[in-house]
């Protein structure tokens, strides 16, 4: 079996390397910090749209889809009309996902597999839908963000130690050993811890940091519903095969996390699965297309 040199990854190494990455999009923190103030929140979103041509184009593109245009004789060409048509919830959704998509693309110049971003987006959408379904005490934006960033530590590993990281992933797919354990053996830490260090460095909310760290082992964080949410969301995303990498596996589903979210696996969940699948499929097409 191929043996690659081990690397001992520390918090200092992760933070030092993060300075070579593109800047984490500041609009994410601004959105989270203004959630309780509707007017300020709306201003932040409109500013983000006005400053970012990719977000602007996506907002106008969505407003001009067939059903939305059914309300109007002419195409929507201005941002204000487009925003009023699509609503603030979807505007926030587009802004968060587009900002992080740009960031991920900037980080992953070395040709990261596209399913990495698609998996992150699917998990984010699962988190949002699960938050609505389970009525978990977490904000929708934090749920989406935690889902989008839950594997950010793997992105860092891919960039800094591409060969060893790929080796761990191949072994995890072939064998019965968890990726966390393989990473722990190769790097001294797993991607959850690395992701949490990065999230903390970017001043993200403590609950999001904790969810990124504990998403493979939520039983250590029984008081953080966001951790339970991300864990179950990732399991659902894999179980439904939302991203067609062919390597999706379900190995562990925490009963404590399900209990914390009040989840029971009855036929009612079918509607949740349907919504998640439809939204993930639509989001993949929408965010993959150049606007």
């Amino acid at each position: 079996m191929l043996t690659l040199p081990k690397a001992m990854v520390s918090r200092d190494i992760v933070i030092a390397s993060s300075r070579t990455l593109p800047s984490f999009p500041s609009v994410v923190n601004r959105i989270l910090s203004t959630l309780d103030d509707v007017d300020a929140h709306f201003d932040v979103l409109v500013q983000a749209v006005n400053r970012d041509p990719v977000i602007s184009a996506r907002v106008v593109s969505l407003a001009n889809t067939a059903a939305l245009r059914g309300m109007r004789a002419a195409a929507v060409v201005d941002i204000a009309s487009a925003i009023s048509l699509i609503g603030i919830t979807r505007l926030r959704h587009i802004t968060l996902i587009s900002s992080l998509n740009t960031f991920f693309n900037g980080v992953a110049r070395q040709g990261l597999p596209s399913f990495y971003w698609q998996h992150s987006m699917a998990a984010g959408i699962c988190c949002e839908e699960l938050e609505l379904y389970a009525d978990a005490p977490a904000s929708l934006s934090e749920a989406l963000l935690a889902g989008l960033l839950h594997d950010i530590g793997q992105l860092w590993l891919h960039c800094v130690y591409p060969d060893q990281t790929q080796h761990c992933q191949i072994q995890a797919r072939q064998g019965a050993v968890d990726i966390e354990q393989l990473e722990q053996e190769s790097f001294g830490v797993h991607h959850g811890t690395i992701g949490a260090w990065l999230a903390e460095h970017w001043s993200l909310p403590a609950a999001v940091v904790a969810a990124i760290e504990g998403h493979h082992n939520p039983e250590k964080q029984v008081n953080n519903p966001l951790t339970a949410l991300v864990h179950v969301a990732e399991v659902i995303s894999n179980a439904l095969d939302l991203v067609g990498s062919g390597g999706n596996k379900v190995t562990f589903l925490s009963s404590a996390a399900c209990q914390l979210l009040g989840l029971t696996w009855t036929d009612d969940v079918r509607a949740l699965f349907g919504r998640i699948e439809a939204r993930a499929s639509h989001a993949n097409a929408f965010f993959a297309d150049a606007p």
Binding site: A67, G70, A239, N248, T264, W265, A278, H282
Partner: protein, 108 residues
């Protein structure tokens, strides 16, 4: 004609489609619009859904597959679910219930 239930983003909904489940649009914590199951979408009701920022609806769409093809598709889906859960501990009641539900969802 046979139909199958499907969730659609509102942008892909069309007049004439049949709602499979009631639509309840909630904005700022308040119910702003409802439509019953079995409602046939009209351009007017679609416009209202869009105006209230509904995102997804469940509709019945025609299923033109033969019974044989439906059975083949269900078997392929079941095989894929079993691959995905091949390393899962199905003696755990929580995992077993989740597996059953995914298998049932994929077999339809």
């Amino acid at each position: 004609m046979k139909t199958r239930q499907q969730y659609l983003p509102i942008e892909l909904a069309r007049a004439g489609m049949l709602l499979c489940e009631p639509v309840q649009v909630v904005e700022h914590g308040l119910v702003s619009m409802t439509l019953p199951a079995s409602h046939v979408l009209t351009q007017e009701s679609l416009n209202q859904l869009v105006a209230h920022h509904a995102e997804f609806i469940e509709v019945a769409v025609p299923d033109e597959r033969s019974d044989e093809q439906i059975a083949v598709d269900a078997a392929l889906s079941a095989r894929r679910v079993m691959e995905i859960f091949s390393a899962a501990d199905l003696t755990d009641p929580n995992m077993a219930a989740f597996f059953d539900l995914v298998l049932c969802y994929r077999s339809k």
